[in-house]
């Protein structure tokens, strides 16, 4: 039964990816099948069973079979196929073997920890696993109202549903789901980097560096939302950067819109605002209005499901509330004296250092070196997003540190979330043309 569930999720995701996009690396297709399959199935299950309550709780196979049938019919009827980018068939080099061994070692450690420990951190128990256990026991009311969350809006149900699917299909430990998502994410990012750089070694290097980042591997074993959010959010940014890979309505921006939407089904904090702004600017500059509209439409539909379902407000009202909140905070900040600007900047940088550590220095150094050498003063879109998102997170944290007294003492819980853009930093570092120059002993 467990195997059937996973195969159906995979097959649904496999067909869905074929519908959305035209050109991928096979590794990306494999990884996206799990990420999109699990994400979209969670959404559909939530809407039909928990929100509208038109199907009973144990409708998993029915829903999955229907989704698989629908996507495979659409694929066949419209003749959607995927063109795979060329694969290098050369045997692994010594460096690649080393990278593979390091990655396998760290990934095995994460998988072992997730295989053994149940959700044990206070937040994973009371925010996420509790809801999974309520629906597992058939208590939908308990799922929504069983515990009084301080800000229940901020805790959408994706990871709770992930736990529940695992309980439902006979696993006693739902944290294995995080291992599956991480494996899918690493496979996707390997395929993406391989396709982008035309270098298998660089793809493997990026995967190894992501896994070697301490804040990523220790977050991976906590059964919290940070790592799933990182997986969906960073891939949403990376696929936005690959905007030239499109054919009609089928484009990476459609995939990006879905991934960003699912990210908002994991956490509701408005990380998406800077992405939307950047997207609008890029689409105007590159004149890709249709892609932009499809991205925005799919994102807003998916991201409205959770707030609409728990507070029964329309997406428009939700947007108005969010805008008013941001405006109020901005107004308060100008008159607040909780911390000086320097103090709040210090708080933000010290906090994110725990997540980003030296990666942020390496990222900016690479960009600096690239500017010095190439003298073109141009950034790749991935690097632009790395700079833009890190600046937004630091400026946003400064604003909140000034707005709320004692906010700086929140510390770890807030800054742990900084991991969400680490993969973007690593891809930005490794894909820099600066390395080619350096490896050629400085010859230009």
């Amino acid at each position: 039964m467990q195997l059937i569930f996973l195969i159906l999720i995979f097959y649904f995701g496999w067909n869905l990816t074929k519908i959305l996009i035209t050109r991928l690396n096979i590794a990306e297709h494999l990884g996206l099948s799990i990420l999109l399959g699990m994400g979209m199935y969670s959404l559909v299950y939530y809407i039909l069973v928990l929100y509208l309550r038109i199907l009973p709780l144990n409708s998993h196979i029915l829903i999955l079979l229907t989704l698989t049938f629908l996507t495979s019919t659409i694929t066949r009827v419209f003749g959607f196929t995927l063109q795979y980018s060329l694969q290098s068939k050369v045997a692994l080099s010594k460096l690649e073997v080393l990278l593979l061994l390091i990655s396998i070692l760290i990934f095995s450690y994460i998988a072992l920890q997730n295989l053994y420990w149940p959700p044990y951190t206070p937040d994973s128990i009371h925010l996420f696993d509790f809801r999974a256990q309520r629906i597992f026991l058939g208590d939908i009311e308990g799922f929504f109202h069983g515990a009084r969350y301080i800000n229940s809006n901020n805790y959408p149900p994706f990871t709770s549903l992930l736990h529940y699917f695992y309980y439902m299909f006979g696993y006693t430990n739902p944290t294995n789901g995080y291992t599956l998502l991480l494996a899918a994410f690493l496979t996707t990012i390997f395929g993406y980097s391989h396709r982008l750089t035309q270098s298998r070694t660089k793809g493997m290097l990026i995967v190894t560096l992501i896994l070697l980042t301490p804040s990523i591997w220790w977050n991976s074993i906590l059964a919290l939302t940070n790592i799933p959010l990182m997986e969906y959010f960073s891939l949403a940014i990376l696929y936005l950067c690959d905007y030239k890979n499109s054919h009609g309505f089928r484009s990476t921006w459609l995939v990006s819109g879905i991934l960003l939407g699912i990210a908002s089904f994991i956490r509701q904090e408005a990380f998406w605002i800077p992405i939307i702004l950047a997207t609008l600017i890029i689409s105007l500059k590159q004149k890709i209005v249709i892609q932009c509209l499809s991205f925005l439409t799919i994102f807003f539909i998916i991201s409205s499901i959770w707030p609409t379902s728990i507070s029964w407000i329309s997406p428009i009202q939700h947007l108005q509330i969010e805008t008013r909140t941001v405006a109020r905070i901005m107004n308060d900040v100008t008159i607040s004296n909780n911390l000086s600007y320097f103090g709040s900047l210090n708080t933000a940088i010290r906090g994110f250092w725990k997540s980003w550590s030296l990666i942020i220095i390496m990222f900016y150094l690479t960009i600096l070196a690239q500017q010095l050498w190439l003298k073109k003063y141009s950034l790749s879109l991935i690097q632009f997003f790395g700079i833009f998102m890190s600046s937004c997170l630091i400026i946003g944290s400064m604003i909140f540190a000034r707005r709320f007294s004692g906010w700086e003492s929140l510390g770890d819980a807030v800054f742990r979330m900084g991991v969400i853009i680490i993969p973007v930093f690593w891809v930005g570092i490794i894909t820099s043309p600066f390395w080619n120059i350096l490896l050629n002993k400085g010859k230009r």
Partner: protein
Amino acid sequence: MVNKISRYSHYILWILITFLIFIRVKSILVSSSNFIKTLEPIFQHPFATTDEKLTMKYPRYYPLIQEIKRLTPEDATIYLPIVNIEYGQPLWALGQIQMTQTLLYPRTVKKYSEELTDGYLVFYTDTTQGIIKLE
């Protein structure tokens, strides 16, 4: 000047990068000691149940939760003491009211206050912990 910097900057950058990798490896080695320590319980108790694993994580707190569940009806009100126990100490999680609330669900969990009505009061000392029925 710019040309001079440009001519020698790849040496400077190689040195900087080597330095960064050195620090990175150092931080990874420091993390590795935790790495190995966290594997110990897995190899020592490979077949532990979920309750046993949570007891390993919360040595005095989790058995107390199980005891409260065993001794109290589902509609009981449980009063938690206001605790100030350092993080990592065996009973530190007693201060995590929301986690306690969800572990004891559907019981109602409240923080200790002067106005106690019917229910159960959780107490703890340095060596022991338990509940008292309020009447």
